[in-house]
């Protein structure tokens, strides 16, 4: 009898292993269901929305007043608002982030790096609500010194805050890419008499360029999806404007504004959140796929 016991144990062990594997597999399926859930809910309510509003009105007209009679559902003004924030913020995040990355990777002494890297991590870890407060209470009053006509809520100060927030991401992703360039390439260039600047710009940067550019795209994608900064500092003006000193509304800002009020479940206003959300989801998804494509397509292998 005692001979059979180990068998039983092993059988039980195998059964247990199988159960555990199935359980863990189920866990990992949750992330698939999240994606399916996002796509299905966005599509479902958007289809309901498009039964009441034509696709043409939604995508190609320029009046967005879903809560005011007469209601208009042309999404372009808030898309332009989002684009304005994304582009203006990249004027801050890309040069500053790239400059920081080049300095950290090619110029900074080890001691300086050790101090500065954690500072960038802190900057990246500050919640967007705090940047929103900073934009409203510091950046806007500061800008008023240069542009007296600037409105209390305006696109420019929100965009600058978004740029400061996304800058550490550009810096750390680009720096990682530049650090990964083999030392031999640098030494070869130094041996030919190149200066530090020439090595950085003509050797290291071209070698890391795919990851550097993908970090730019990711920063713009983050800026498109950024919500609290624009909800606080950019305003809620959904008329079409290209003036960054004016109050604007972004897609995310609209969703926050409408959710702060009482909206009836099933009403057109309720469905606009999903339609705008779908548009936002598709825009950021495209940018993220583009970023990954750039990395895999143009990677230099060493």
């Amino acid at each position: 009898m005692s001979k059979r016991e180990p068998d039983k144990n092993i059988m039980r062990m195998h059964a247990q292993e199988k159960i555990i594997k199935t359980l863990l597999q189920t866990f990992s399926a949750v992330s698939i269901f999240v994606t399916i859930g996002i796509v299905v809910t966005l599509l479902w309510e958007t289809l309901g929305f498009l039964r009441e509003v034509s696709v043409f009105e939604f995508l190609f007209t320029t009046k967005w007043t879903p809560t005011l009679a007469p209601k208009h559902f042309g999404v372009l003004p808030i898309v332009v608002g989002t684009m304005m924030i994304a582009l203006l913020s990249s004027i801050v995040s890309i040069p500053v982030g790239l400059g920081s990355a080049i300095y950290l990777s090619e110029f900074a002494p080890a001691k300086v790096r050790k101090v500065i890297k954690p500072i960038l991590e802190i900057l990246a870890g500050i919640p967007s609500i705090v940047y929103g407060f900073f934009a409203l209470n510091f950046i806007t009053p500061f800008l008023r010194g240069f542009f007296p006509e600037i409105e209390v809520f305006n696109a420019l100060s929100a965009a600058i805050a978004v740029g400061i927030m996304t800058m550490p991401m550009v810096a750390s992703l680009s720096e990682d890419a530049m650090k990964a360039v083999p030392k031999a390439l640098r030494e070869g260039a130094y041996a030919l008499g190149a200066t530090k600047l020439e090595v950085a710009l003509n050797v290291v940067l071209p070698a890391a360029i795919s990851n550097v550019i993908s970090s730019f795209v990711l920063a713009i994608s983050r800026a498109i999806g950024e919500t609290m900064i624009v909800a606080i500092a950019a305003g809620a003006n959904s008329t079409l404007t290209f003036n960054p000193l004016h109050s604007i509304q972004t897609m995310t800002g609209y969703m926050v504004n409408i959710s702060m009020g009482d909206i009836q479940h099933g009403s057109v206003e309720y469905k606009t959140v999903f339609a705008v959300g779908l548009l936002l989801f598709l825009m950021t998804l495209l940018m993220n796929i583009l970023a990954r494509h750039i990395v895999s397509r143009y990677r230099e292998e060493y």
Partner: protein, 300 residues
């Protein structure tokens, strides 16, 4: 050799010219080093300005009363107690959902899955994509699924489930990194002793990977703690004058309370918003410092 030597001697002006060219190139390099340093300095300056602005505006309003009072229409009496307690409830519940799911998924992907199978590739790409989805979109998902479909209403439960899904990809990816760093020799040694796969994972692999997993989890949790957008969509309130008693109660959290105060025109509300930010930042910095401490202590 001799010829070259002579040639160089004869062309002294040329060699002088290259040396002056080197000088200007080196100067240019120094100038640009200055520019690149300015970029870093700009980042540091912004952090300093941001912190001094918040401290200057809020420190005078930060007191024990502020932390232990409920919100009020009068800024002098308003406090952050209900938001603080709400944040603790939401974060605790978020952790309960996200940690087992995230670590479980990472264990499956790293220890069990056959990486050649298409399904596991889809899983991995899907997780990378989810990490790039804007947080507000998770709020829309939470609104449709948790608030409406499952009828959890605008409760702590709905908010915590939404945030759990939001930070799930972060926890998965950082746990995967931690598991990848466990040397294979440890697994093989355990198998050689006849230990089963699961017992090897719980007894050998996980203890070794735990500091890395915890660091990633703390960073993910501190991100969730600062999030306001998805919870606004899910329907967290801006004004809650009571403490939650169950996970089905309506709630507010620190960032939403701060947002509520920031959007009021009166100056005093900007002051208490800044005081609220100070409370939030102290909590987040403590969490991040713990994470960095863990990383440095166990990283070898």
């Amino acid at each position: 050799m001799k010829g070259i030597y002579v040639e160089m001697e004869n062309n002294m002006p040329v060699s002088k010219k290259t040396s002056s060219n080197l000088k200007s190139r080196k100067l240019l390099s120094k100038v640009f080093e200055g520019f690149f340093f300015l970029a870093i300095a700009f980042g540091i300056l912004m952090l300093v300005l941001l912190l001094t602005n918040v401290v200057k505006t809020g420190l005078g309003w930060l007191s024990l009363d502020f932390i232990t009072s409920l919100p009020s229409r009068f800024p002098k009496k308003a406090g952050i107690y209900s938001a603080l307690v709400g944040s603790i409830w939401v974060m605790g519940l978020t952790f309960l959902f996200a940690f087992p799911l995230g670590v479980g998924t990472a264990i499956y992907l790293e220890e069990y899955s056959d990486k050649k199978k298409w399904f596991n590739n889809v899983l991995q790409v899907n997780i990378a994509n989810l990490a790039g989805v804007p947080s507000i979109v998770y709020g829309i998902l939470g609104l449709a699924v948790f608030v409406r479909l499952l009828a959890f209403e605008r409760s702590i439960l709905s908010g915590a489930l939404t945030l759990a899904l939001l930070i799930l990809p972060v926890i998965i990816v950082s746990s995967q990194e931690a598991l990848k760093a466990v040397p294979n020799e440890l697994r093989h040694g355990s198998y050689a002793l006849g230990v089963s796969k699961w017992l090897t994972i719980t007894g050998v692999v996980l203890p070794y990977a735990m500091p890395g997993i915890l660091t990633g989890t703390i960073l993910a949790m501190s991100r969730a703690m600062g999030e306001a957008a998805p919870l606004i969509i899910v329907g967290a309130a801006g004004y809650i004058a009571f403490l939650p008693r169950s996970i089905m109660d309506s709630f507010t959290v620190l960032p939403i309370q701060i947002f509520n105060w920031t959007s009021r025109p009166q100056d005093e509300f900007q002051n208490i918003a800044a005081a609220g930010i100070l409370v939030l930042l102290v909590l987040l910095l403590t969490a991040n410092a713990t994470a960095i401490f863990l990383r440095n202590k166990y990283e070898k």
